[in-house]
Amino acid sequence: MAEKIATREAYGKALAELGEKYDFVVLDADLAEATKTLYFKKAFPERFFDCGIAEGNMMSVAAGIASTGKPVFASTFAMFAAGRAFEQVRNSIGYPHLNVKIGATHAGITVGEDGATHQCNEDIALMRTIPGMTIINPSDAVEARAAVEAALNIDGPVYMRFGRFAVPVINDTPNYKFEVGKGVELLAGSDVTIVATGLMVSMALEAAQMLKEQGIAARVVNIHTIKPIDKEIIVKAAKETGAIVTAEEHNIIGGLGGAVAEVVSENYPVPVLRVGVEDKYGHSGKVPPLLEMYGLTPEKIVEKALAAVTLKK
């Protein structure tokens, strides 16, 4: 059984580690304990600033800091980073293309017990519509660590999506390499492609195993960078496997499913079925039953994959 670590944990540790090598500032909005920027705060108290419970102000403050040439991370829950502060992210950060790295934690349904007001299933859709925004949704702790350093080396705004819930580490391989905008084929297959992001990547691998037992060879592609999306790997999958299933812990509208469907329909139309939160609000509960409740499971991916295969011409 793989070790399980929450991507927010990896985010906080990466900030503290990279603070040695890079000159940047970290902002939080009274959630440092939860977003894990606390690690950076402890290591570099003179470069950490709590903005209090005022996320809109935090984003515009971040823009001001970045305008002086200093990279800055702004952290809060996804709901408040992309939701509450959408307009500040769009106008203060996105429009002038400033070097602000948004560390949005507690994304998706796996917030758990706090329930719908805090379960953000819309952030990817919102951030995708901001021109020039890079969006990274890492699948595990290894990828989260890599994403933070990659974000520092991007000239412009980056939205990084992290989860509260501990997820299996799947990228701790000697050859692991993170490249912004490049999807990763984790498993070869020719019958159908499962394109997954975030914590759904490990479930996609499980689903592929289950499909294999039914005689279906599923390809698994990890899309950690949702914008700019890797068109090449998606079109290749459409051509070579003829059917695609997307899997994300996000509304099926506007997120990975939307992005993949756009690429496929414009380049090489094949069936694209989407696994995700089906345009619903969240609910309080422990994470495992919530994932069942919202259909974020390997079984659901298998079901959609079989349906996608039958839709092939």
């Binding site: 809109g56 102000n57 515009s60 307009e87 002038p96």
Partner: protein, 278 residues
């Protein structure tokens, strides 16, 4: 301030007023009222206060200015042109599709603009970020921002005020353009945000009240602001919206509309006449 300097500043303010009117008239849209109300403030900042150099607009050690009430960009652009950041002839291209002079300030393409702004409440926060970065980097630059009185109805203005005082941003100077009018009518009737002096004081600012059109008062206020340690300063500047153009003064209508040819000519002649008497 000696008489020659005062005369020179007054002349510059009049030129900025002419630039505002030229831009808004040529665009047949834009916001003259709140641009005219800050003509002296912009003049004082760009010709007396700010350490900025049009030949080196991105100097990391420069003072910064954020026009938080970004809709009064015609005022900022006229000041920047007068200062030499770009050719004054550009003003007549304001808001045109082939011009870099956007309806609201755009730091990416307009020389001398330190922060894109215009969505109200955002600019003051960005000014706080610049001031904080100055503290972190131990730089001596100062940061100035002009906030509208109507703008202060935005909650973010007060989030920023809280932040500025909390982090003791004594390198930050917020100027409130208290012209008393907003789109829907008198600020006091639409949603009264006053008293600004007491509010900023309660938020932890050093507060100075001035007549926004009096250069000697402005000088005293800006000099005083530089002596304040451990807290930001707010200058509450009582102004006349549309100042300098008789038919625009204190008229809500001129918040966001442009004069026709006839009224434009009248405005130009009023300001030109007034210039002769400086």
């Amino acid at each position: 301030m000696n008489q020659n300097e005062l005369k020179s500043l007054k002349t510059t303010a009049a030129k900025i007023r002419l630039g505002i009117l030229e831009g808004v008239h040529a665009a047949a849209s834009g916001h003259p009222g709140g641009s005219l109300s800050i003509a002296e403030i912009l003049t004082y900042l760009y010709f007396k206060e700010l350490n900025v150099d049009p030949k080196n607009p991105k100097n990391p050690d420069r003072d910064r200015f954020v026009l938080s009430k970004g809709h009064t960009a015609p005022g900022l652009y006229a000041a920047l042109a007068e200062k030499g950041f770009f050719d004054r002839a550009e003003l007549k291209n304001l808001r045109h599709v082939d011009s870099f002079l956007q309806g609201h300030p755009d730091m990416k393409i307009i020389p001398g603009v330190d922060m894109s702004a215009g969505s109200l409440g955002l600019g003051i926060s960005s000014a706080c970020g610049m001031a904080l970065a100055g503290k972190v980097d131990k730089k001596n630059y100062r940061v100035y921002t002009v906030v509208g009185d109507g703008e202060s109805e935005e909650g973010q203005v007060w989030e920023a005020a809280m932040f500025a005082a909390h982090y003791k941003l004594d390198n930050l100077c917020v100027i409130v353009d208290w012209n008393g009018l907003q789109i829907d009518g008198p600020v006091a009737e639409v949603m009264n945000p006053t008293p600004h002096d007491k509010k900023f004081e309660a938020f932890g600012f050093h507060v100075i009240s001035v007549d926004a059109h009096d250069f000697e008062q402005l000088e005293k206020a800006f000099e005083e602001a530089k002596t304040v340690k451990g807290k930001p300063t707010a200058i509450i500047a009582k102004s006349v919206k549309g100042k300098g153009v008789s038919y625009m003064e204190n008229e809500v209508k001129w918040h966001g509309s442009a004069p026709n040819d006839e009224l434009y000519e009248q405005a130009v002649s009023e300001i030109t006449e007034a210039m002769k008497n400086i």
